[in-house]
Symmetry: C2
Subunit: 160 residues, 2 copies
């Protein structure tokens, strides 16, 4: 009997390891667990980092546009916006020209905290991509982007 614990990868057959879809899923699980463990003191914001960045880049975005951008139903976004508003990250203001719309903005405090959070996200990203050459990173980014395009294009043509 060997004292070495069997590694997880030993159980994963090669053809599964070669599947990009499997790797993506596995990475998302791992990265998310790690991210949540490492980043604290930012309330519930870390998991919505991407969304906060989109709001920062599109101040006053309507909730429905925001929901579409992150592939969520507009109703699913409501409690998220509410929580982040209570935590001081966001404010909603009714749109003057269309009073159905509520525009979403980062607060000054939210902007300030987002820049601090960004430092942590950078660290996380650096740890995750350690050992990858700039060239590999570039190819990786292109590949990930191409796949996202492929998947969204197919969604449009499918047109349920």
């Amino acid at each position: 009997m060997f004292p070495l614990p069997e590694t997880d990868t030993a159980l994963i057959p090669q053809d599964l390891q070669d599947r990009v879809s499997f790797r993506i899923r596995q990475l998302q699980i791992l990265a998310y667990k790690r991210f949540e463990k490492v980043i604290t003191d930012f309330g519930s914001a870390p998991r919505y980092y991407g969304m906060l960045k989109i709001i920062a880049a599109n101040p006053g975005i309507a909730q429905i546009r925001l929901a579409e951008a992150i592939f969520l139903d507009r109703s699913s976004l409501v409690p998220i916006i509410e929580t982040l508003t209570h935590e001081g990250w966001l404010v909603r203001k009714p749109a003057a020209e269309d009073r159905r719309v509520r525009r979403v903005y980062l607060t000054d405090e939210g902007l300030r905290r987002l820049s601090l959070l960004e430092v942590e996200v950078n660290r996380h990203e650096a740890r995750m991509t350690k050992g990858l050459s700039p060239q590999s990173m570039a190819t990786l980014r292109e590949g990930l982007e191409q796949m996202a395009v492929n998947l969204t294009e197919q969604d449009q043509t499918t047109k349920d």
Copy 2:
């Protein structure tokens, strides 16, 4: 006013698009939605394709090893195994040498159906990676693997 709808990507700032962690998350969401829409008639198996492949490669694996391999708590695995057993994919047999353990196997029917499911997974993967050169694919796979290694290694050293 232009008739063209604003694309999602127009809302995503470049620095966010360049984040591998953001892309991974986005891709996982898109790929999963697409996968579930396209693949039907396989019961609840498609979402557990990876797990079924691991069982196929490790016949008689103990539930706890399987849970570790897919980063789930052993208790979370129980209802999954149960469902797939009821659907005829799996059987559990008590281990002779350690009666606490229940060994998990694919049924003959499960093996047969898994090979059919695999055809669909291949199609999904091909659509997703369309336009990527063999070289890009190779670099992509290496990058994804390296990141998985980075994340699991860091988990071990953190050692909470």
